[in-house]
């Protein structure tokens, strides 16, 4: 399989399932630009109780989307958190009302760089304003307000989703009862920015990127985007997990070919990851969302003091990290715990032993499930949520 095969980029389908909120008011972005109008595409699971107190906002990661528990409309794959969501599940749809929205700048229905710029009639491309994690959360807050929810029972997410959780806790503490950042950090590290830059440069170096105007030119920088995905995907795994899965095993052959075909299984796997990714993701969205993560630094918003980001009222926190996650290592979570201790927040912190690396938050990880279930159940008791509200 070659990653050089350019695939047609599929635009968001009008027939995709889910809800749309069109916001006419201007959203004031960190970059100084006002964005209006814009659309938020979101999914919900379960039912909002009459007191509107059982809502959980699920924040997705860099390449995730709102289809947390539905089949993906392009790939048909099960939702990325189907392991957690369902009746009687950790995120129990009989008890909680779950909301998952595509982030601002995304490519699954929420306004992003591939949507039409009303001023030009062409796709926004690089004219789309640079967005931040805070901007994503501002947009989510509008959505929550529009649903008449004053306080979310919980905001939960992994990786970039965890950054959004932290931003929620810092910016709208009164609107969050419990916060669960998983495999996250209060800032993007230099190493993480470096990896993102590699990915972005791979996209930009693709001649089909056309200075960002590939949609107008009817081309798709799928080679660059695939390479970006391949590089990023390595960072989501651990050395141990890669070794366990592939070792030095050869792909469909008995000997190396003394060439540059995908001799090794790990190469073939990465090429597959890259080539399937380009079918469902927009290259410019990848640039914008990685940038948003790079810019994330909660302490910097508060004069360099992380505790100051959580001064005053705080939600109950459950912070979770994974031993083999070197992209968002435990040290980042621990720094967060120390900052929350400094402001006397109610915080639980669990480091889960696994060799699955950063991706562990998306995988079947029984300790993760047990921790989340216990924390949420404890919080539900404090919040006075009945086991079944119907």
């Amino acid at each position: 399989m070659s990653i050089l095969t350019a695939s047609r980029l599929r635009r968001p389908g009008r027939d995709w399932p889910g809800h749309r909120l069109v916001v006419a008011d201007e959203l004031h972005l960190d970059c100084g630009i006002g964005l209006a109008p814009f659309t938020i595409a979101y999914q919900t699971y379960g039912q909002l109780n009459p007191a509107r107190s059982n809502a959980i906002l699920i924040c997705h990661a860099l390449t995730g989307d709102q289809f947390a528990a539905d089949p993906h409309p392009i790939t048909g794959h099960p939702g990325w958190w189907t392991t957690l969501i369902g009746p009687g599940g950790v995120l129990d749809t009989e008890r909680y009302f779950l909301i998952c929205a595509n982030v601002l700048g995304g490519c699954m229905g929420t306004t992003g760089p591939r949507d039409i710029n009303p001023q030009t009639g062409d796709p926004w491309a690089l004219d789309f304003p640079v967005i931040t994690i805070h901007d994503m959360v501002r947009a989510q807050k509008l959505l929550i307000d529009s649903l008449g929810i004053e306080q979310l029972f919980c905001v939960i997410g992994g990786s970039m989703g965890g950054m959004q959780v932290l931003q929620w806790a810092s910016s709208y503490p009164e609107a969050v009862f419990a916060a669960v950042p998983i495999a996250a950090a209060a800032r993007h590290s230099a190493q993480n920015i470096a990896f993102h830059e590699v990915g972005r440069q791979a996209i930009i170096a693709d001649p089909d990127w056309c200075g960002g105007r590939y949609l107008k030119e009817e081309r798709n920088p799928s080679r660059g985007l695939a390479v970006a995905r391949m590089a990023a995907h390595i960072t989501y795994l651990s050395e141990a997990a890669l070794h366990r899965k592939f070792g030095r095993n050869l792909q469909d052959r008995k000997e190396v070919t003394y060439g540059f075909e995908a001799d090794f299984q790990v190469e073939s796997y990465l090429r597959h990851q890259g080539s399937t990714f380009v079918d469902r993701f927009d290259a410019n969205s990848y640039l914008y969302i990685t940038r948003a993560m790079d810019y994330f630094d909660l302490a910097a918003e508060h004069g360099g003091s992380l505790p100051a980001a959580f001064q005053g009222r705080q939600p109950r926190f459950c912070i979770i990290s994974f031993t083999s996650d070197w992209l968002f290592p435990t040290s980042e979570s621990r720094a967060l715990v120390h900052a929350l201790n400094a402001v006397a927040a109610n915080v639980s912190f669990v480091e889960i032993e696994t060799d699955k690396g950063h991706d562990a938050f998306l995988l079947h990880e029984p300790e993760l499930f047990a921790t989340l279930r216990g924390f949420l159940t404890g919080c539900a008791e404090h919040r006075g949520l009945p086991r079944f509200w119907t």
């Binding site: 009222r313 715990v337 109610n346 669990v350 047990a370 921790t371 404890g378 404090h382």
Partner: protein, 236 residues
């Protein structure tokens, strides 16, 4: 705490459910009796959270914990307790002065790297501190070393010398001397037999140091510092 859990007494409770109050280990029950209802408590080395669960449920205490072992932390969080993974040596610095009404360090002091600093930290972040530890001056331990010539082992100290987390053992006298050095006031002290049965002996007397298998001390007198401000009322 891998080793520290092992050091806890036999009835440390299961991870499945917090034990009913009657089943709370006797030394923990004695500690619980020293804690006012509704107070704010940090239990360092909280194990499976038996004491925290009891305090939260029966004394309406705002209970927090620190525990080293992943299994312990997970058991606590699974039961809805607020516990962070960490240890006494490393993770107390972040707490502000006077953050808790009571800080509990139960059967853990001897496993810390810097016990003196840890006790100082307890007194800084708690208005009061409760410390319990096995007494290395207990007569059986003394005799064991004298007659067997081997490193003593007991029900409380049940690891061989090469595989013990207990790197800073002390006697009740040693601990009292440390309190004096730090200017800490001993508000209450209990001497206990191996089963946690209390008997009252002056901790400064030589009899206590000889007969007690463990000691529980309620201390105060850490340096008074800033208190929590705005965050406190907003806690949920």
């Amino acid at each position: 705490m891998k080793g520290r859990v092992a050091l806890r007494l036999a009835a440390a409770g299961t991870a499945e459910a917090a034990p009913p109050p009657g089943k709370l280990r006797r030394d923990l029950r004695l500690i619980a009796e020293m804690i006012e209802p509704g107070s704010r408590v940090l239990d360092i080395g909280c194990g499976d959270g038996a004491l925290l669960a009891y305090l939260a449920r029966d004394k309406a205490v705002d209970a927090r914990g620190i525990e080293l072992s992943q299994s312990g932390v997970n058991a606590c969080v699974r039961h809805g307790l607020s516990v962070i993974q960490g240890d006494a040596d490393r993770d107390l610095d972040a707490f502000p002065d006077g953050a808790f009404d009571v800080v509990v360090l139960s059967q853990t002091l001897q496993a810390t790297r810097q016990p003196r600093h840890v006790v100082e930290e307890l007194l800084r972040i708690g208005k009061r501190a409760i410390v319990s530890f096995p007494n290395f001056g207990f007569w059986r331990i003394r005799l064991s070393l004298l007659f067997r010539g081997r490193m003593p082992m007991s029900m409380l100290l049940n690891n061989p010398w090469y595989d013990t987390p207990n790197i800073h053992l002390c006697t009740i006298r040693d601990f009292v001397a440390l309190c004096d050095e730090l200017g800490a006031r001993i508000e209450r002290s209990l001497t206990l037999d191996r089963h946690g049965g209390p008997f009252s002996l002056d901790p400064r007397g030589s009899l206590a140091n000889l007969l007690a298998e463990q000691g529980i001390f309620l201390l105060s007198g850490g340096r008074q510092g800033r208190r929590w401000g705005a965050g406190r009322e907003a806690q949920r």
